[in-house]
Symmetry: C2
Subunit: 310 residues, 2 copies
């Protein structure tokens, strides 16, 4: 089937077509551009929420509960769980994805794990493109859940309208959040597992750290016990509050526009990265060998690749 | 001062010059290429060890102890602590870096925190280039410590010869490691804080998971209590064992060559990403506006940027 008809079928809501389209985006390659061209006019409606935090913080459960909350409000939902791909993950991740199965029979919910390690451009392109697919097929809300903290999180932040940072009670967790650079990417802080000892202390530490910030928006700090569904209504309200703030101040538009600028730069970079691969294969290997042998420095080698491309 | 003379001074071992060179790499930009050209002939000697794992796993303390171990063997050491940059991190990270001060007066040790969030190319270029600086100025071992798990870790793995993955005792930590895609990037597993309950269980879980792998190299699993210096000799031996294995099988050379190929592709991509920024500034903003208004799809916009570049 050609890409355009795949997109057409996805736009009618056919789940298998949506799944195939997301696989296409995940793999990257020339067809993605074609798909995006057809999809693009249908996008721009979805609100995207990113969820990040250390492994084990309870992001999957929070995501599941937020899906329930959104469905209660009769909103349709897409979920992207961004995982570094792993030969082990098929098994190891199953537990989480199975939990999500409480929504699996709901036609208005589409859940997808995305592996990004194989993608040369990493999450930087695959994520916004996958969001666009779910946006185009009519999801009101797209939730992006990530594993771990680091570069990927920054990229996820770039891809969403409101970013939730999840921490757990415990000495130093707030400090670790700061250490991981999460303070300034958080639009809302979630202290999950708030029935554990130290929850109040963690909330206090976060408040103290946020006081040091001179950012205009002061993130709400919401305590939740996701496994019991506690605090989810409050969390949803905090997301809505952040959304309203951004819309009122005209920040949503500028945030999305910066996102597009970043994406365009990435598409250009990705194009040339792919061209190095496709058009200079043997030259690339040869030059790498010369660089390793110290006959050539990497920048000289890159210049030769660029010449070979033009 | 021009870049070439900065490099010359760094090569004599002048710490201030090394620090400035690393700042140059961190910031990116056209001078980096010049610096790399002069540095390059002096590189190729250092062995690089990457340390990754969740925040709070004890990576900084392990790094400090490994530095001590290497110094005991009269090896010179460079340390790169890769942090997502943060306005808060100056304070929050101080604790860790201060601990490292046990080596701060040792002229044969160079420790540097690197922020990478500002870098358009992320850690993918800044890290190997910083390693190259420390290699060129004569460090025998370069330790790369990272915060968190995710994309950044994968990139760090790409940049080093042996990757240590640090986990802590506790139910599910091994599963979380698998979830975060750490099983197949680990050359050595470190169960740190091994005096805590559940350490043996975690070691057992890791063994079980590794049995599922059909990779040729079976990572050692080393238990440590970094704060007390326990298990560090064993950890060093495991690193040496992995190194010997790679050298014997000719794998080190091929690993490094693949690394160079990846780096060359990244330099080419980065060049074009920078050119979009530098040469098409107003056009970029204009096109992003049209994309946001759904007048243009992102790939069409990227095509126009590429045309404008040629």
């Amino acid at each position: 089937m050609d890409v355009s008809s795949l997109v057409e079928r996805a736009l009618t809501g056919e789940r298998a077509a949506i799944a195939r389209l997301l696989s296409l985006v995940e793999d990257g390659g020339p067809d993605v551009g074609t798909a995006m061209k057809v999809l693009y006019p249908h996008t721009g409606r979805a609100y995207t929420v990113g969820i990040t935090g250390a492994p084990g913080a309870g992001k999957s459960t929070l995501t599941e509960k937020l899906v329930g909350q959104a469905r209660g409000l009769e909103l349709t939902v897409g979920v992207l769980a961004i995982d570094p791909s792993s030969p082990f993950s098929g098994g190891a991740l199953l537990g989480d994805r199975v939990r999500m199965q409480s929504h699996a029979t709901d036609a208005e919910v589409f859940i997808r794990s995305m592996a990004t390690r194989g993608h040369l451009g990493g999450t930087s392109l695959a994520t916004p493109e996958a969001v666009r697919v779910l946006d185009a097929v009519g999801k009101d809300v797209v939730i992006i859940e990530t594993v771990g903290v680091g570069q990927a999180e920054v990229e996820i932040t770039d891809a969403c309208d409101t970013t939730l940072v999840v921490v757990n009670p415990g000495w130093g967790d707030a400090v670790q959040a700061a250490k991981a650079g999460l303070m300034e990417i958080a639009d809302v802080f979630v202290v999950n597992k708030a029935d554990r000892q130290g929850a109040r202390q963690t909330v206090r530490e976060l408040h103290q750290m946020l006081e040091l910030s001179d950012a205009q928006w002061k993130p709400d700090i919401v305590s939740t016990v996701a496994t019991k569904g506690e605090g989810i209504t409050e969390l949803w309200a905090a997301i809505e509050k952040h959304r309203a703030y951004q819309e009122e101040k005209g920040l949503l538009q500028s945030r999305r526009r910066r996102r597009v600028e970043r994406e365009l730069r990435e598409i250009v970079a990705e194009r040339f990265r792919a061209r190095v691969e496709d058009e200079t294969g043997s030259l690339l290997g040869e030059l790498a060998g010369q660089v390793e042998a110290r006959e050539l420095d990497p920048y000289e080698a890159a210049d030769r690749l660029i010449s070979a491309l033009s």
